[in-house]
Amino acid sequence: MKLVVLMKRLPDLVEDLEVDDSGKALDAEFLKFTLNEFDDHALEEALLLKEATGGELTVVAVDGEDVDKMLYTALAKGADTALKISGTGEIGSTSHLARIFTQSLADRSYDLILTGVQAADDRDGQLAPTVAAMIGAPCIEVVTGIEHEAGKLIVRKEYSGGVLAEFDVEPPAVLGIQAARQTPRYAPVSKVRQVQESATLETVTLAADTGKSFDIIRMTPPETGAGAEMLGGVDELVKVMESKGVL
């Protein structure tokens, strides 16, 4: 089976996010990027599938800060090919990103494209269903389990309350991964460094294309503690609990 994992970087939410002077974007000075955690799950699920059924795994990402390391890490974990897309310019939306990914995959064959179920900056929609609609492939979001059986895929999708639905899916297909069957593996730095020396990243250069992106009017942090009355200590907390009759 030929597997493709689409990966993207996101601002690390552990950091304090600040808005820049335009009032419409995150202040780049305070940004630290990290792999979208759901994409990490998608990669893990792809690796597990590859290990179970054999096949070839390609990871794809758009160039940017630390993207090389992200791709080498995926290679160190067991991906066979890493594809870096450059020349795209600033990416403004999910649909823009989806178009870039589909273009870069245009002359490749694949059975299954995996990516994270969502990203924290999905302003205009999710990557998996957008890519799927663009290439005309079936797509399922919120996937927590994939099995490959006799040319078809058995896919588990999660609803609320822990209810799961099971589908048969005919490849080629796109799946948005919510959680891999196991915690995403860790790639030891020594291995990543070694891969960095021995492997090369494939690159494709696409023409800049700003895509259809809608104007951001403003970006604001939700007012801190908008609703919450801030308490100074556990004693105050106890008082609140008493006043609410729960203690």
């Binding site: 302003r123 799927a132 099971e166 801190t224 609410k244």
Partner: protein
């Protein structure tokens, strides 16, 4: 393009979801702004569902029992057909597991402008949507132009009561469009019955990734025991196997509304908030003063959850004698 607002009715196991009514309430408000009407798309639904969609001016029915079980391919094509037939200005879809399969698909296929993670929509000359991005750390307001557009709305963004009205509305039928059959529904798998029903508790001690370590779940258990509460948690803890699935609160977990929801080390991602925002009293403890959870809690405290747990457990135990 007309001025109508189209709502996608969502159902599972024969029941319409709360989100459907939230969206209907929202749609009615928007329709009054655009001067259009509120249309609901009921795909694979039945008459009982139809009778509950009284808030809509018109319900477009596509198929019935034969496509009752959600199928992204079939339901996606059906929705495309509805949109093609009705040409609404705004399509509202819940940001739910099913909604995620439909919204972006529709946006591409029907060439609609799109917004996700929405918590508020205004429809004037243009449609302006506020989305809660970055795990709830930023609100981003986008101008989608005049339309048509599709917006996926976070659950709990509007009161469901505004969208509940009985009496079967006017309805019309559309044929189920043919599809290639690349996705086939197999079955639903219900979760195994849980040890504790967290939806029936008066008090929940809810823990998130801030707990850091599987062993430290004990600390929360001790507090819960002292309080006579149950322990619930955010999704990452369940994914890591630190708590059973039956304890998960949120979008893909359970919706709870206890008297007291004590959120310890939970950042307050929209998917979590969805499951607990209707609790009577929410108290949040987090070391990060910018944690979005403080925007939803009634009371907040910037502190280490372990210190709070420990001190509180002691005080509660003392009070009990």
């Amino acid at each position: 393009m007309g001025n109508d607002i189209l709502v996608v009715a969502e159902h599972l196991g024969g029941t319409l979801s709360d989100t459907t009514f939230e969206l209907l309430g929202m749609a009615k408000k928007l329709a009054s702004q655009t001067g259009g009407s509120t249309v609901a798309a009921l795909i694979g639904g039945d008459d009982t569902m139809l009778s509950q969609l009284g808030a809509a001016d018109l319900v477009v029915r596509v198929g019935g029992g034969e496509i009752a079980d959600f199928n992204p391919e079939v339901h996606g094509a059906a929705l495309e057909a509805v949109v093609a037939a009705k040409q609404p200005r705004i399509v509202l879809i819940g940001y739910t597991s099913m909604g995620m399969d439909l919204a972006s698909h529709l946006a591409v296929k029907a060439d609609l402008a799109a917004a996700s993670f929405a918590i508020g929509i205004e429809a004037g000359d243009s449609v302006v949507v506020t989305s809660q991005l970055y795990g709830g750390k930023m609100n981003v307001t986008t101008d989608l132009g005049s339309g048509p557009c599709v917006v996926s709305v976070l659950a709990g963004s509007a009161p469901a009561d505004d969208g509940r009205a009985h009496g079967p509305p006017a309805s019309e039928d559309l044929a189920v469009p043919p599809t290639a059959g690349k996705i086939r529904f197999r079955r639903l798998i219900e979760p195994e019955a849980g040890d504790v029903d967290i939806t029936a508790q008066d008090m929940l001690v809810a823990i998130g990734r801030g707990i850091g370590n599987k062993d430290d779940v004990e600390v929360a258990e001790a507090l819960a025991e002292a309080l006579g509460a149950a322990v619930a948690g955010s999704r990452p803890l369940i994914d890591a196997g630190w708590l059973p699935k039956t304890r998960q609160v949120g979008k893909s977990g359970l919706k709870v509304s206890p008297k007291l929801y004590l959120a310890l080390g939970i950042s307050g991602a929209p998917e979590h908030i969805e499951g607990m925002k209707s609790s009577s009293t929410i108290i949040a403890v987090n070391t990060d003063k910018h944690a979005p959870i403080f925007n939803f809690a009634h009371y907040g405290m910037v502190a280490d959850l372990f210190d709070v747990c420990e001190e509180l457990t002691e005080i509660v135990e003392e009070k009990k004698g």
